[in-house]
């Protein structure tokens, strides 16, 4: 019996003294976008370099993810070590001290290489609070064959007048071809992303310097009237329920002569596997109304660390890997240059290999450069953000206004009534939140 005891003690001592690697497990919350899924597939490369770190992924739909991580970070639930958040959240959460400033991304990270506008969008008081994984603006995509047939030439920097005129000329409802496809589905990140950017180009703004809503001003009336008239004459049927994906499907099926939307769509519409019109697509900047601002937005999906995380060091290592220059090279070597995450680094737009496979690269860069979150429209504004106002109340306000504008598009209300309702609901919410008296 004594011998058995001794043997057991010996085995236990051996087990306890055996060298082992202390593993840190990172739980990363992310959205289900192509670039993010690709990153998940390449996690093995990160683990090979960092055997002491294990990575677990939680992939969720954008709105579900937003609710999930907001609840967790606001209650300090500690369920996630790395969060995927948009440029809308970064300044709000950084101000609330919910994010860890990213000061230690390592000597090779090359912060200076980040595109200045994107870097601004994820910084507060000069400090980086999130690292951009991929960035986007919006631009005009059009069918070169239809333009040629109609004897039209798309300028690189088109005006709204040209786009409206061309859309009407190119519409052939009998053949199922519509001059223009634009977002109509209600939501602050759906139709309001497009309409806010369009309104910026017409000189409108969400709030004046004293946070007074501006939907009763002529600039908004002009914007909404032009949008509704254009869509009625040259848009597809049922446009009030079309978002990014619906318009992508319409464009890829050859039903739209023009589509103004996210630059990230450029790679989808020019991919022959997904698009019937892949070899007939041209690109131009988002239109302008001659006031010095184009109707393009600025957005980036970013990786950030929640304050209070006990795994900051490992999380920083992961973020430096996923958003660093070497990651771009890794994706290129495994899946080709066409699949690298765009819109975050200047060096990518000087890379001849990338420029060769991405004919839309120059315009993507020009669009991102043209959007300024700190000066989004012609007149001064008290908020940050191009197609949104980075205040916590904006999600609710933006969606309520989006519903009014979507109703105006579907014809269940008039432009004037929609604007009046938008003004009163926004005023009410801004009073309730204490911005105005």
């Amino acid at each position: 019996m004594k011998n058995v005891h001794g043997a057991l003690v010996g085995v236990a001592a051996l087990l306890l003294s055996a060298p082992s690697i202390a593993q840190t497990t990172l739980t990363i919350a992310t959205v289900n976008n192509g670039d993010m899924i690709r990153m998940q597939g390449l996690t093995g490369e990160f683990i090979a370099k960092n055997p002491d770190i294990a990575v677990k992924w939680v992939t969720l739909e954008e709105n579900v993810l937003r609710q999930r991580v907001t609840t967790d970070i606001a209650t300090k639930g500690g369920q996630f070590d790395v969060l995927t958040i948009g440029t809308y959240e970064v300044p709000i959460w950084a101000k609330k001290n919910w994010l860890v400033p990213l000061d230690n991304l390592g000597p090779d990270y090359d912060i200076a290489d980040l595109l200045p506008k994107i870097r601004d969008a994820v910084s507060l008081s000069g400090k980086l609070y999130a690292a951009p994984f991929y960035g986007e603006s919006s631009m005009t995509m059009y069918r070169t064959d239809l333009f040629q047939k109609a004897g039209l030439t798309m300028p690189e920097n088109p005006s709204w007048d040209f786009v409206i005129d061309a859309a009407k000329k190119l519409t052939d409802k009998e053949a199922g071809v519509y001059g223009i496809c634009l977002r109509g589905k209600a939501g602050w990140g759906e139709n309001m992303a497009f309409l806010t950017a369009m309104a910026n180009s017409y000189g409108a703004r969400w709030f004046d310097e004293k946070w007074q809503p501006q939907f009763d001003k002529p600039e908004w009336k002009k914007t909404l009237s032009v949008y509704v008239d254009l869509m009625k004459q040259a848009g597809p049927p049922g446009a009030s329920s079309n978002g990014f994906n619906e318009n992508l499907a319409l464009f890829n099926a050859g039903k739209c002569a023009m589509w103004i939307d996210a630059t990230v769509a450029a790679s989808f519409v020019s991919n022959p596997k997904d698009s019937k019109v892949a070899d007939k697509v041209g690109f131009a900047l988002a239109p302008n109304a001659g006031l010095g601002k184009n109707a393009n937005w600025l957005w980036a999906w970013n990786l950030a660390i929640p304050a209070g995380s006990k795994k900051v060091e490992a999380a920083e290592k992961f973020i430096a890997w996923a958003t660093g220059k070497d990651y771009t090279n890794l994706v290129a070597s495994k899946e080709g240059w066409a699949n690298v995450p765009p819109g975050t680094r200047t060096s990518l737009y000087h890379n001849p290999d990338y420029l060769k496979v991405a004919p839309f690269a120059k315009l993507t860069l020009a669009s991102i450069d043209a959007a300024d979150p700190n000066k989004p429209t012609v007149q001064p504004v008290p908020y940050v953000g191009v197609q949104y106002a980075a205040i916590p109340e904006f999600q609710g306000i933006g969606t309520a206004v989006g519903q009014q504008f979507s109703a105006a598009l579907s014809g269940s209300t008039t432009v004037d009534a929609a604007l009046a309702a938008a003004q009163s609901s926004t005023e009410r919410e801004m009073k309730r939140a204490g911005y105005i008296k």
Binding site: V31, L60, V64, T75, Q79, G243, L248, N252, A265
Partner: protein, 276 residues
């Protein structure tokens, strides 16, 4: 006006029933069909119904990206566990309210139902904080508790309705024969209420299986059931309908099969007239 011949009426009502049934089933059929299409075909306008190149690539992708069995196991534990515990609590509660009512019984029943009238998001933050402090976030125990509590009012109401249909005289006869409360519950009440119990069990199993607010908000990885699995295939930027359909088909398959085999019991229970 002359009455239509009986056979014709039967044929017409059969066709009408099949039409209504097909209409109700159509979204599920469309989802299953979309799961065998490519992303481009799933979005095609006009849509193709049966004549497309059938592919299993979506199922391969979904299987490669997610651990279906892990999520399915969690769904079984969460839905089954919460339903069984709810039944164990609700049977005595409903028995007491049906056969020994007090003047407050109706108020209690209404109060229980009123908890279902509040939108769940209203209590998300307090529940989240309680779960954080008790270490219940992302745990199967936590999900079983919340779904059990969430469905309890419905279970009690359903059982109360079924029990009320059973004549007190039968229970009194059992008591006169010397049955204790436990024996009365197990040997007299339960066998008589089997259809009602079965339909309550099945309905709550389906409700718990499909619950997508608490399961999404209180689980992360370890306890994530099939609702989280589905939510990971929807995307705001990019074509995803075919993959989402494949994930959804896999997620509903177990409960669909269960519902199929127990439909007779379910319908009988839902139209239960007890001993009328």
């Amino acid at each position: 006006m002359a009455r239509m011949p009986t056979r014709r009426r039967i044929a017409l009502s059969t066709i009408a029933a099949w039409l209504v049934g097909f209409l109700i089933f159509f979204p599920i059929l469309w989802m299953v069909l979309a799961s065998f299409k490519t992303e481009l075909e799933a979005f095609a306008i006009p849509p193709s119904f049966l004549f497309f190149d059938w592919t299993l690539e979506n199922y391969v992708t979904v299987q490669g990206r997610s651990d279906y069995l892990h999520h399915a196991f969690n769904s079984v534990v969460v839905a089954g566990g919460s339903t069984l515990i709810a039944l164990l609590i609700a049977i005595p509660a409903a028995w007491s309210m049906a056969f020994s009512p007090t003047k407050r019984t109706k108020d209690v029943l209404l109060w229980m139902l009123s908890t279902k009238m509040m939108p769940a998001v209203g209590v998300l933050v307090p529940i989240y904080l309680i779960y954080r402090d008790f270490g219940l976030l992302d745990s199967l125990t936590g999900l079983v508790i919340i779904l059990c509590l969430g469905n309890l009012p419905i279970v009690v109401w359903m059982l109360f309705t079924y029990f009320k249909e059973i004549p007190r005289d039968i229970l009194e006869a059992a008591r006169m024969d010397g049955a204790t409360i436990g024996r009365e519950l197990i040997y007299v009440l339960t066998p008589m209420a089997v259809p009602g119990l079965a339909s309550t069990l099945l309905l709550n199993l389906i409700l718990a299986w499909n619950e997508a607010f608490w399961t999404l908000n209180l689980s992360t990885l370890q306890a994530a059931p099939l609702t989280v699995f589905i939510a990971s295939y929807s995307s705001p930027e990019g074509l995803f309908w075919a993959k989402l359909s494949a994930a959804s088909t896999l997620a509903i398959a177990p409960i669909l099969v269960l519902g199929w085999f127990s439909q007779r019991q379910l319908v009988r229970g839902l139209t239960f007239g007890a001993v009328k």
